[in-house]
């Protein structure tokens, strides 16, 4: 069997650096591309470069956008008094999915991680504090991950952002919908117990 042409080898190497693409998939895609309609491949290449060139981070909230400020930040129907703090730009897409959150966002750009040298000044916390002086924010919903570093970041934020007239809440953590108690691990269960809610008749 003859060796692969250098151009295909280089293409495979590029594809392999993409998430979720292993050596076999990379080779399959590369071999498909070099035999495909040249116009289709040109279009793919154009879409790749255009998407990368156009998509940026919103200067206000830090979400992915083509215009800054982004659609959410400039939409007058979104509740400007309610701010949801997330770790990564893609987390805003997750919160948007159920369609129940009507406030705005603030992307931190990471979480505190002493082991990796990520300290408060490496996150967009100062930008968040500036927004609090400019925007009519009344409630901040902290929606970070629940691992040790995520929790430590949430606690740090709650303490640093505390000011009169500002409510700071965290998304509730508990049992996955539709799951039985026997499937929950101990930590999830203890959090669900900590975050228990009153069951009032009128709710």
């Amino acid at each position: 069997m003859s060796a692969l042409p250098a151009a295909i080898v280089a293409l495979i190497a590029s594809l392999r650096s993409l998430p979720g693409i292993g050596p076999r998939s990379a080779e399959r895609i590369a071999l498909h591309l070099v035999q495909a309609d040249p116009h289709a491949v040109e279009q793919l290449a154009r879409h790749l470069t255009e998407a990368r060139a156009r998509v940026q981070l919103c200067a206000t909230c830090g979400a992915l956008t083509e215009t800054s400020p982004c659609g959410t930040c400039s939409d007058p129907r979104r509740d400007a008094t309610f701010l949801c703090v997330v770790e990564r730009p893609t987390d805003t897409l997750v919160i948007e999915k159920p369609g129940t959150f009507r406030g705005r966002y603030h992307v931190l750009g990471g979480k505190l991680s002493p082991l990796n040298g990520i300290e408060p000044e490496d996150l967009r916390i100062r930008e968040l504090e500036e927004r609090l002086t400019r925007e009519p924010v009344k409630e901040i919903l902290i929606a970070l991950g629940t691992d040790v570093e995520g929790d430590a970041t949430s606690f740090y934020l709650a303490r640093r952002l505390a000011r009169p007239g500002l409510k700071i809440s965290r998304i509730a953590h508990g049992l996955p919908a539709g799951a039985g108690l026997d499937f929950a691990d101990e930590l999830t269960l203890s959090r669900a117990l900590e975050g228990r809610r009153d069951m009032k008749q009128d709710e």
């Binding site: 998430p19 040298g117 929790d151 606690f155 740090y156």
Partner: protein, 220 residues
């Protein structure tokens, strides 16, 4: 070959979209790295069991050709949940883990280091002022590794030397009640600063932040 151990998780990082590399500090096997296959999937049996400084019983298959062993089962004993409630103590625990990483080799038994780290986390859980506790950890780790300073033949003043001796001996848990003279604490801190640079070539990352005494690092 399947092995069992009791260990503390000292680092985790994603390997693929579904699997996680988990580094452990154990007594008999020392520092080991395991891959937890599927751990990043929401329905994994590892879900909620693998996070920083969890103390757990684990079983793993030792790899014959690499230093990355395969994690099979985990039973969490202690989560040290206080680390979630303040970045200061998390910083200190992380610094200690970094120091262990920098001063020891992987896959080499560390019979004294594992209980030291465990005892340190227990002492840290008691709160109070932690700077001298962290200096005690540094001194004890260096002693464990046979590279500790000779306190009787160093430039510390008698009172500071006495504190250093006190920090290096006895139960770590009793040290959280100790209220040493701040001047002596500063002297021991400076002494170890120089000692670590001299012996390690550079100061381990995070020491300054871990030893900063002011609680929250707020701006304005």
């Amino acid at each position: 070959m399947i092995e069992n151990a009791t260990g503390l998780i000292v680092r985790t990082r994603p390997l693929t979209e579904t699997s996680l590399i988990v580094q452990w500090l154990t007594a008999e096997q020392g520092r080991i790295a395991t891959v937890a296959k599927g751990a990043r999937r929401s329905k994994s049996a590892f879900q909620g069991k693998l996070d920083l400084f969890y103390l757990a019983e684990l079983s793993f298959s030792r790899s014959r050709h690499s230093e990355l062993h395969s994690l099979r089962e985990v039973r969490v004993i202690e989560t040290f949940s206080f680390l979630r409630k303040g970045i200061e103590r998390l910083r200190q625990a992380c610094y200690c883990a970094t120091l262990v990483e920098q001063t020891t080799e992987s896959d080499t038994p560390l019979p004294g280091v594992f209980p030291l780290m465990q005892e340190y986390l227990m002492a840290l859980a008691q709160g109070a002022s932690n700077v001298h506790l962290l200096l005690a950890f540094e001194l004890r780790l260096l002693n464990q590794l046979g590279m500790g300073p000779n306190l009787d033949d160093c430039r510390l003043l008698p009172a500071d030397r006495e504190l250093a001796h006190r920090l290096a001996t006895g139960g770590l848990l009793t040290l959280s009640e100790l209220q040493p003279d701040p001047e002596s604490v500063r002297a021991v801190k400076r002494f170890l600063h120089g000692f670590l640079i001299y012996h390690l070539g550079r100061l381990p990352r995070g020491r300054e932040a871990a030893l900063a005494t002011d609680p929250p690092r707020c701006s304005g």
